[in-house]
């Protein structure tokens, strides 16, 4: 009983049960609305009966040449709806949009190096740790850049892990 559709502004008023969880960041309004204004197809919500927000994914598409890729900025599920493979569904949707509509080469995401449960989940979904970004989170914790190649990257070049960690200033994009 999940309707997955584009996220809309009113969903910001419905997502408290998801965002009160300590691992989910509540960004400022211009952040959400920039995503909505620029990449509305990359911001999707899973909704249950009575417009209950079960979870959502937000992302974007950016880059040039073979770096043209989908990016997962946040994916989160309300505690009540966890352990039902809903995150997988949302990730698959974003991957499909990146692949089929925007013809991107890969999808990437950043995760805290300490967030073992999330890393495990992304690995199950086919993502590999592409590189480590030193002190990426507020200058304290390292981030892991994880990637999954899409059909356009036939040889899966985009996900061959880098050998050395990088600093945040070496990142190609502002990857939040």
């Amino acid at each position: 009983m999940t309707t997955i559709r584009r996220f809309c502004c009113n969903d910001l008023l419905r997502f408290a049960s998801v965002n009160l969880d300590h691992l989910t960041e509540t960004f400022n309004m211009s952040f959400y609305m920039t995503y909505l204004a620029r990449w509305p197809d990359y911001f999707q919500v899973a909704e249950g009966p009575g417009n209950r927000v079960m979870g959502y994914i937000m992302g974007k598409v950016e880059g040039q040449g073979e770096s043209w890729h989908g990016h997962v900025t946040a994916v989160t599920i309300a505690p009540e709806y966890r352990r039902q493979r809903l995150a997988k569904k949302l990730m698959n949707l974003l991957e499909e949009i990146s692949d089929k509509i925007d013809k991107a080469y890969f999808v990437d995401l950043f995760v805290r190096a300490s967030n073992t449960p999330a890393i495990k989940m992304y690995e199950k979904l086919g993502y590999v740790i592409y590189r480590r970004v030193l002190r990426y989170y507020s200058g304290e914790e390292d981030g892991l850049d994880m990637r999954k190649a899409l059909s356009r990257d036939v040889e899966k070049k985009s996900m061959i892990p880098l050998k050395r960690p990088i600093r945040p200033d070496e990142l190609e994009y502002d990857s939040i």
């Binding site: 008023l13 408290a16 049960s17 009160l20 960004f27 204004a37 009966p49 009575g50 209950r52 039902q84």
Partner: protein
């Protein structure tokens, strides 16, 4: 020109936006500029004063452009559809969707959703039903599609009702449906078709986790109940089947809530009994079995039969839950500390049961036990936000507001969450003496909202630039929704009132605040407008405890009523009336305070303009008009309201006639007195009525506050009690009265400009100065009593208070059984079973620390309150010295 367009976007000048966009379109012929114009037209209709005829113009523009250039953006097509839909031209929209332009929509399901909606709105339900079938075949878990599918079969248009600005954010889970227009035969045939389709979906469901095909079956049975009223057994059976498949999921109760609602109470109980029998045959997988057990308990909670159970039985079930929690802790041994633990919900349910026990027995031990249970849970895993929310409400009720605020802060409520989640703390803080925290809370919230209102236009322009036209409309409507937020309007009134409270002991500071508030003129405007303004209610109440389902309701404050569950839906209507009344009344305050000060300040001065303020007659007339309005809001004429306050002050009427509006009545008495000082009404000269009205206010305040003090028990033994009302009395009516006194004393003091008074004036001054002297004396003694009471509470040794709390859990035959179970676990944790992390956490558990935090929290509230009282006493004593020199 794009810059100019952006300027008009910033100004929300939709007409000028349209004109500029059309000019750009004519110059370069680009699709995007046409769409900018079309959006601007749509905004005029949806958010401005534009008539619906304008849509015809938008349609014409689009049609012409499509004929010559086609369309290239999917978003342009979506806007085109919405223009047609708003004019009910569904057929035209369907033709476009089926034509070449339809291929712009690349996601098949999106296209089908539009098609289904258009067909249904056009009344072609059979074709629409087929489309929704296709959607369900592609996305078997799409609940909304299934409801639309049923809506089509039953030819029920309510399924497609459009949203308005005040559509509730969380509509009832119970899906409204119309069935009365159907004959038996038609209904049966529809049900037959739907059931066959659902069976097919069930058979095709590739994985077990798809709940939709099974819930669809429940929805069909629910509609059968609604249509025939004799299908309860089938619905119960379907619910049991749903349990056997999905009973282990945390969302089970939320899934079935709407279906349970149609069952009569006895059938709900029958369902519960059958579920309980099931509890003997739980899954062999431990986590699954635990999930099933929790579901049973949550269903029991949802059915709301808890209040029927005898105390012993209820207590027994809380004990069982605590045992279940402890028994299953080892399941979480290897989990990451950030992951939710298995069985976490059990402690929330235990807390709910314990609060119910407290409400019924008034044994404080149960209340303390509820706090301990949640604190215990947070000791093991400090992230569980559900515990924090429950705790913040328990602490608020227990008068330990700093602790509640601490818990609130740990929820990291920021940005848009301030609009949806600050209801958890804001109302309590508004009635508290924690002014610095309250000020931050209000400032942060108002800053967030005002920042958004400022940025919103730029973000709208961003959507224009990126050709996401549907978002343009959405952003403007969303901004309007927030601007109409009831909470925002309340905060806008409360923030300056807080400033006025904070400076009330210093009339010069108060006057400069009033000046910055344009002497309250804008708030009068708000009060005038609020009656006709549409309000939005964006608070998310889902996570509130059952005993305080909305900000206005707290069952624990009243006697036991036999409730253990309260649906939080459909409460908006009642709230809307309350909030309107509240804002209407409260926004008069700044102006009334200003006029009262003026009234007392111009007492014996010339009637000429003083420092640009109003001249005497104008003040009196305006203040009288406001008093009339204020009285009317309380349901009385001015004269009747005066009779009421005079009657109560003389002991001819009881305080109970004020009802729950006691603060408003006392404010009224204060402002009435200020007006009397300077009133020429009924042929009376200023001052002649004065001693009488002074006496009214003094005795009302004195008697009421002292009465409250006499009845109030020690805070540590009587949660909530009358402390918030005492705080309000001192910081509102008493404070405003203090300002009137300060203004009077100021006029008595010699100044260079003062003219020689005539003999009759001297007499009046003497009469008035006596009245003011009495008032100062009276207020001083009241405040000293209050400060002494606070000090006495603070003085009780901390250890005694902690002992009192902890010993309430260790009495024979009362609360404490659940607590003992947790204590036993914590005293000797089995490290092999529980792992390092949990064992360590258990060893750090200290109920005495929890007790100490409560005591410290309560003391901080009392100290702040005492500080406020003492500041007022000091100010009054200075006035006393000054007046002695007159």
């Amino acid at each position: 020109m794009m810059g100019l367009f952006n300027c008009y976007v910033r100004e929300y000048s939709f007409v000028k936006q349209q004109q500029t966009a059309i000019k750009m379109y004519k110059l370069v012929g680009e699709e995007r500029f046409l769409l900018w114009a079309v959006c601007s037209i749509q905004l005029q209709v949806l958010c401005g004063n534009g008539g619906e005829k304008l849509l015809l113009l938008a349609e014409g523009l689009l049609k012409k452009h499509v004929a010559s250039h086609g369309l290239h953006e999917p978003e342009a097509l979506i806007v085109y559809f919405s223009i047609l839909e708003q004019q009910a031209k569904y057929g035209d929209a369907l033709d476009i969707l089926g034509g070449k332009l339809g291929s712009l929509l690349m996601i098949e399901v999106d296209k089908l959703r539009i098609q289904g909606k258009l067909l249904a709105r056009a009344g072609d339900y059979a074709a629409a039903a087929n489309v929704y079938q296709k959607i369900l075949e592609l996305c078997g878990d799409d609940w909304e599609a299934f409801l639309h599918y049923l809506g089509c079969l039953f030819e029920d248009e309510s399924s497609w009702a459009s949203e308005t600005i005040n559509t509730p954010i969380n509509p009832p889970k119970y899906v409204e449906c119309k069935l009365t227009h159907l004959t038996d035969e038609v209904f049966d045939s529809c049900v037959e078709n739907a059931s066959a389709f659902v069976q097919k979906l069930q058979a095709e469901a590739s994985n077990d986790s798809l709940r939709n095909p099974y819930l669809s079956h429940l929805e069909i049975e629910r509609r059968k109940c609604l249509f025939r009223k004799n299908n309860d057994d089938n619905l119960v059976e379907a619910l049991l089947q749903y349990y056997s498949r999905f009973g282990h999921l945390a969302c089970f109760t939320s899934d079935v809530e709407a279906f349970l609602q149609v069952l009569p109470p006895e059938k709900k109980m029958e369902f519960l009994d059958k579920l309980m029998k099931n509890s003997n045959s739980l899954s062999v997988v431990p986590t699954r079995a635990l999930g099933q057990s929790i579901t049973l308990l949550k269903t029991q909670e949802l059915i709301g039969s808890m209040f029927n159970l005898p105390v012993a039985e209820l207590e027994g079930s809380a004990v069982q839950m605590a045992e279940l929690y402890c028994k299953n802790l080892p399941l979480s041994k290897d989990l990451d500390p950030q992951e939710s633990m298995h069985g976490e919900e059990l402690l929330s349910i235990v807390c709910n049961v314990l609060v119910q026990l407290f409400w019924r027995t008034r044994d404080l031990g149960y209340f303390i036990e509820a706090i301990m249970v949640l604190e215990f849970g947070l000791t093991i895993r400090r992230y569980t936000f559900q515990y924090k929310i429950l705790l913040l409400h328990l602490y608020s009720y227990f008068g330990a507001l700093p602790l509640a605020y601490e818990r609130y802060k740990s929820l990291d409520v920021k940005n848009i969450l301030m609009e949806t989640a600050s209801h958890h703390i804001l109302p309590q803080m508004l009635a508290s003496p924690l002014w610095a925290d309250l000020s931050n809370l209000l400032k942060d919230y108002l800053k967030f909202m005002d920042d958004h209102f400022r940025e919103s236009a730029d973000l709208t322009f961003l959507a224009y630039r990126h050709r996401n036209y549907s978002k343009v409309i959405e952003f403007v409507q969303f901004k309007e929704r927030l601007q109409h937020s009831n909470q925002y309007l309340v905060a806008r009134v409360e923030a300056p009132i807080l400033q006025l409270k904070q400076s009330a002991d210093n009339i010069e500071q108060e006057e400069s605040i009033l000046e910055s508030l344009k002497c309250g003129a804008d708030f009068i405007e708000l009060s005038n407008e609020i009656g006709s303004k549409s309000l939005t209610f964006n608070e998310d109440f889902q996570s509130r405890p059952w005993w305080t389902p909305t900000t206005e309701k707290n069952y624990l404050l009243g006697p036991f009523e036999g409730i253990s569950y309260c649906p939080k839906e459909n409460l908006t209507k009642e709230r809307e009336e309350n909030v309107r009344g509240f804002i209407e009344r409260k926004s008069l305050l700044p102006r009334m305070i200003y006029l009262s000060i003026q009234s007392a300040s111009v007492l014996y001065k010339d009637n000429s303009e003083i420092n640009g303020s109003l001249a005497d007659p104008k003040i009196s007339t305006e203040l009288k008009a406001l008093l009339e309005r204020y009285a009317k809001m309380m349901g009385f004429s001015l004269n009747d309201a005066i009779d009421v306050v005079v009657g109560v002050s003389r002991g001819l009427k009881p305080y109970e006639v004020f009802g729950s509006d006691v603060i408003d009545w006392l404010n009224f008495a204060v402002f009435f007195n200020a007006w009397s000082l300077n009133s020429h009404d009924s042929g009376q000269q200023g001052g002649e009525r004065t001693p009488g009205s002074w006496h009214v206010v003094n005795s009302l305040l004195e008697n009421y506050i002292l009465g409250k003090l006499r009845s109030i028990g020690p805070l540590i033994q009587s949660p909530q009690g009358d402390l918030p009302i005492l705080v309000k009395l001192v910081t509102e009516p008493l404070a405003w009265h203090g300002l009137v006194i300060q203004a009077c004393v100021r006029t008595f003091l010699p100044s260079g400009k003062k003219k020689k008074k005539s003999g009759s004036t001297d007499q009046s001054i003497s009469l008035l100065s006596n009245a003011v002297r009495d008032a100062i004396q009276g207020l001083c003694s009241v405040l000293e009593e209050v400060a002494k009471w606070s000090q006495d509470q603070i003085k009780i040794p901390e250890d005694n208070k902690i002992d009192l709390l902890v010993s309430s859990l260790k009495r024979n035959g009362g609360a404490g059984k659940v607590f003992n179970i947790l204590e036993t676990l914590a005293s000797s944790p089995n490290e092999t079973e529980l792992g390092d992390r949990i064992s360590q956490a258990l060893r750090s558990w200290s109920p005495v620390d929890v007790g100490r935090k409560i005591v410290t929290g309560q003391c901080r509230v009392l100290s702040e309150f005492r500080r406020i009282c003492e500041s007022k006493i000091k100010s009054l004593k200075t006035l006393k010295q000054q007046i002695a020199q007159v």
